[in-house]
């Protein structure tokens, strides 16, 4: 009986943790992408500048609160456009020259979110 009560209370604590996790795991800013995914092409909807002017990583969602000031000419995050989704290759990270190339296209492959000189700290 004592063990049964312990397990029941334990389950209650677990359920509370689960409920709390459901709250805090929600992203503050999640922009859904509706582009068609092509084989070998980027599958994430965003590219974020994770190391100032040096490394840009694909992200499934971004949070504006995670952007901090830095010395860089790039934006904190970029949204991949439908054209970009068909042209940007799938990579674990992108370099500054990759980004310059993607940003130079018309129609745009990427659209900047917010102002420049920010770095994304997920």
């Amino acid at each position: 009986m004592k063990n049964f009560r312990k397990i029941a209370f334990g389950l209650l604590v677990g359920a509370l943790a689960l409920g709390f996790s459901a709250f805090t795991s929600t992203h503050k800013l999640t922009r859904n992408t509706t582009f068609v995914k092509h084989a070998g092409m980027i599958t994430e909807g965003f590219i974020a500048q994770t190391v100032a002017g040096n490394e840009f990583d694909p992200e499934s969602s971004v949070d504006g609160d995670n952007c901090s000031d830095a010395t860089t000419s790039y934006s904190c995050t970029y949204t991949v456009t439908s054209t970009g989704a068909s042209n940007i290759p799938e990579k674990s990270s992108y370099t500054a020259s990759d980004m310059n190339s993607y940003l130079s296209h018309s129609p745009a492959w990427l659209t900047a979110n917010g102002s420049a000189n920010k770095v994304y700290n997920p």
């Binding site: 677990g14 509370l16 943790a17 805090t24 795991s25 992200e59």
Partner: protein, 159 residues
């Protein structure tokens, strides 16, 4: 003088019931932590996997780790829930948390960029805070194990 010391000792002695309550509370706390983080990792698995892929130390086994971590967290949480397996659950909890801490420390040393996809609100901690957070949980799990040992030895003495 000796009796005064004995009096002080007895005043701070915790009863077996209190010890058991402390152990249960610690187990629930550890279980809640693992359920909380495992849920966050499962719900946003793509993001968790993407984060692991970016860490060069483990990028080769990122897919395996992305499944192994939440599964082991759930298993440890279940062990902590069942009274008969609490002891093994606490040992597993300490082992898993120590592994995470060693990973964080090695990533801090060798990784130029540190993405954290630990799940939920814990992601807001800095890496230094993360280490202290893990150490605090390891210490309370050790305290629970020590209390269990004290209860066992006390019960053996009474036999």
């Amino acid at each position: 003088m000796e009796s005064a010391i004995t009096n002080i000792k007895s005043r701070f002695r915790i009863s077996i019931t209190t010890k058991e309550k402390i152990i249960t509370a610690i187990c629930w706390l550890c279980m809640a932590l693992f359920i909380y983080t495992a849920y966050a990792k499962i719900v946003d698995h793509t993001r968790f996997l993407a984060g692991l892929t970016r860490v060069h130390l483990i990028s080769g086994v990122a897919v395996f780790i992305s499944y192994a971590v939440p599964i082991s967290e759930i298993i440890v949480a279940l062990l902590l829930l069942i009274p008969q397996t609490v002891k093994i659950g606490l040992y597993s909890f300490i082992a898993v948390m120590s592994t995470f801490t060693v990973y964080i420390i090695s990533a801090m040393i060798w990784e130029p960029h540190l993405p954290c996809h630990c799940g939920g609100a814990i992601e807001k901690l800095s890496w230094g805070q993360h280490i202290w957070f893990n150490l605090a949980f390891i210490i309370i799990a050790i305290i629970a194990l020590r209390l269990m040992q004290l209860i066992t030895s006390f019960k053996n003495l009474r036999k």
